[in-house]
């Protein structure tokens, strides 16, 4: 370990519990890992273990399958799978995650609906399990008069899988509720992607996104439902979704890393 200069005999960074820890008030301003205790040039061992635990949790969230029973959904539920047979394939092959398996395509029968909601694992089944059920309930409450298709639960699904699902169901709009790529501090954050007149081949620029839906400082499910209701009303008015349709508080879209 680096030999401390004489004036650091009582070094607040070696003993962060000390009252003189200058970082204490600053840690409340950000989730970033600021003011970490040091061991020489690197961080103290406790920080290393804390980081590894956060990464292990994120990895578990990525690899976990979506448990339909954990959603506790009432009423009719349709379950579909993409052509990605397992999580490892799903991660390597986003193209397969955008296509329905033959069995799943066959089980979707055409009806006449205004909107279809799809609960999709994406990159965090945990996010779908935790955020989607209350979000779905909040959306239903805000959409009186809309003909809503039976909810679809989609496994190993990317955003564009919703286009094919809704097209086959005969829905005029699809809302994908999909788990985001987990971060170290939040592993259960959900995004909504709304696409008007969905069909295979729709571009990402033809969708609207509401991201960062979680209960650790993110957007609440109630607030997300209200935003979505506003977007749906706007999309119905202009007959399209995407960059032409503006949310008053635009969501940040991470183009390179969308799920």
């Amino acid at each position: 370990m680096t030999k401390s200069p004489p004036d650091s005999a009582h070094d607040p960074l070696i003993d962060p519990s000390t009252e003189t820890d200058p970082w204490a008030p600053l840690r409340g301003l950000t989730r970033a890992r600021v003011g970490q205790p040091r061991a020489g040039d690197t961080v103290a061992g406790g920080e290393v273990l804390a980081f590894q635990l956060a990464h292990a949790r994120a990895r578990r969230a990525v690899m976990a399958p979506l448990r339909q029973e954990a959603l506790r959904l009432d009423g009719a539920v349709l379950s579909v799978r993409s052509q990605a047979a397992d999580r490892a394939t799903f991660i390597r092959r986003p193209d397969l995650g955008r296509r329905l398996s033959a069995d799943s395509a066959a089980c979707l029968t055409r009806g006449s609906y205004d909107v279809a909601f799809v609960i999709a694992d994406g990159l965090s089944a945990l996010a779908a399990e935790r955020q989607a059920p209350p979000l779905l309930a909040a959306c239903h409450a805000l959409l009186p008069g809309w003909r809503i298709a039976p909810v679809v639960v989609a496994h190993n699904a990317r955003v564009a899988l919703g286009d094919d699902i809704a097209h086959r169901l005969g829905a005029g709009c699809v809302v994908m509720m999909i788990g985001e790529r987990p971060g170290l501090s939040v592993s259960d954050s959900l995004s909504l992607y709304m696409t008007w007149d969905p069909r295979p081949g729709r571009l990402d620029s033809e969708r609207n996104c509401i991201s960062n839906i979680h209960d650790q400082g993110g957007l609440s499910t109630g607030a997300a439902a209200a935003k979505l209701a506003g977007l749906l009303a706007g999309a119905r008015r202009i007959g399209r979704s995407g960059i032409m349709l503006k949310d008053e508080t635009p969501a940040t879209l991470d183009g390179l890393a969308s799920p």
Binding site: T2, S4, P5, D7, S8, D11, P12, L13, I14, P22, W23, L26, R27, L29, T30, R31, A32, R33, V34, G35, Q36, R38, G40, D41, T42, V43, E47, F51, Q52, A54, H55, A58, R59, A61, V62, I91, R92, R93, P94, D95, L123, E180, R181, P182, G183, L184, S185, V186, S187, N212, G217, P250, T252, D254, L256, A257
Partner: protein, 460 residues
């Protein structure tokens, strides 16, 4: 023209240079996703045999993307310096690899050659090089740039301080900024990726960075990494723009996906130059690139992702950038699957950037759906430091809470300095000494944060 190799009596044919390059590329998920990778390990080596025999001059004729339909190809062809190319014009790709590693190929010889090399030649030779070759050859090349300090000097390692915050809260950003400055990081740039990407928010962040920089007379430059059109608008509104940032790719179609063209980049550079804010130099552009960017925009024209990546460097070098970095592990495991692929790609990008004449840095990073962890990043940061990388990106604790991925930490920069003897840019190092952050041996003092009281004390 077809290209061929015979191994153990079996003939392997390749339709064009684009296919030879793709089949010769080391295994990576993005090329498999695009359907351009070698079918098996032996075909990959057959392609390398064929590639080794290709004359460098062939790359001036057999273009992977047509001249007529792609402005990046036109830039490459129209700016090719035949006089600079002359010393290697007779070589094959295999001979060029051996020459690069030879003793006569020193810093001056390679720098003189650089304008004569096209990205396809550079990508080609990298595919015949092992990781140690990529390091040994890159280590010879220094690319010096200047704005408020000098980057790229021998024995120096620049660092980008990246104080991102999920809602751009100025106090949250300030906490991460202070943490980095007190850990001696930030000479390459203090650069924020904004959560809200609009002009008004960008100006708020730039004003904040400017206030900190001028109050403490920090010899560095700031940047809000927003679209060039936003930077131009901010300059028009009088905002203190030091560096203009843009993500770029290696084909016109992919750049269109980013909302940029060569003309727009030139306009942005002119706008930044008009402010005349540099003190020791006027290199004003900051570019980010990454393997997979063209494929993710469905604009790769059948090229492998590494060849497309090097074409982005041809775009970058047309604008004399202060900084360029690959975001190597950020684009995701569908392009670079695991730590091995990320490490190899990071070394390729650095070597190819340097050979193209760029001040190449790296965001040593990975996402949580990649088969990688911080041990892989430790390996890559150390390999790149040995290779003489211009700068690396660092965030508090290696955890970017806005972009939700893992990069290097401020502390990692201290580890690199002590492990390899590399130092911050001289102007910035002098500032660290003036702020009493360094001990008598140039190490960051353990009690440096006691300077925090001085630094964050209210003004006046």
């Amino acid at each position: 023209m077809t290209y061929r190799a015979t191994l153990d009596g079996e003939l392997y044919r390749f339709a064009d240079l684009r296919q030879v390059l793709a089949r010769a590329s080391p295994q990576r998920s993005g090329d498999e996703l695009a359907g351009v990778a070698a079918a098996d390990p032996v075909e990959r080596i057959a392609a390398r045999h064929a590639l080794a025999d290709v004359p460098l001059a062939a790359f001036l004729e057999d273009l992977p993307v047509p001249y007529e339909t792609d402005e990046v190809t036109r830039l490459i062809v129209d700016t090719h310096d035949a006089a600079a190319f002359a010393p290697v014009a007779h070589m094959t790709v295999g001979q060029f690899r051996d020459w690069l590693l030879s003793h006569p190929a020193d810093a001056e010889a390679i720098a003189a050659l650089s304008p004569g090399l096209t990205p396809e030649m550079v990508a080609a030779v990298s595919k015949l090089m092992r990781n140690q070759d990529l390091i040994a050859a890159a280590r010879k090349i220094r690319v010096r740039t200047a704005f408020r300090n000098t980057q790229g000097l021998p024995g120096r390692l620049g660092t980008r301080l990246q104080p991102n915050h999920p809602t751009d809260d100025p106090r949250g950003i300030a906490a991460s900024l202070l943490d980095g400055l007190l850990l001696g990081v930030g000479d390459a740039v203090i650069g924020i990726n904004p959560a809200t990407d609009n002009i008004a928010n960008g100006i708020v962040l730039l004003d904040m960075l400017e206030a900190v920089r001028t109050r403490y007379a920090i010899p560095t430059q700031s940047c809000v990494l927003t679209h060039v059109t936003n930077s131009i608008a901010m300059i028009e509104r009088g905002a203190p723009v030091d560096l203009v940032f843009q993500s770029i790719a290696g084909t016109e179609a992919a750049n269109t996906g980013f909302g940029v063209s060569l003309a727009l980049l030139a306009e942005a550079r002119d706008a930044a130059l008009s402010l005349n804010r540099g003190t020791v130099g006027q290199d004003v552009m900051y570019f980010e690139t990454g393997q997979g960017a063209a494929l993710s925009a469905n604009a790769h024209h059948g090229m492998d992702q590494q060849t497309a990546e090097v074409r982005a460097y041809a775009v970058a070098r047309a604008f004399s950038p202060f900084l360029v970095n690959t975001v190597v592990g950020f684009i995701g495991p569908e392009y670079l699957y695991d730590g091995k692929q990320i490490i190899r790609a990071g070394l390729e990008d650095h070597f190819c950037g340097k050979l193209m004449g760029l001040p190449m840095g790296c965001d040593v990073c990975y996402t949580n759906h990649a088969e990688a962890d911080q041990d892989d990043m430790d390996n890559l940061m150390m390999l790149l430091t040995v290779a003489g990388v211009n700068f690396l990106i660092a965030v508090p604790g290696g955890d970017d809470v806005m972009l939700s991925y893992q990069s290097l930490s401020y502390h990692d920069m201290l580890t690199l300095r002590s492990s390899f003897g590399v130092r911050a840019a001289p102007e910035f190092e002098a500032w660290l000494e003036g702020m009493e952050l360094l001990d008598t041996r140039g190490r960051l003092r353990l009690n440096a944060p006691q300077a925090l009281g001085r630094i964050i004390a209210p003004e006046g």
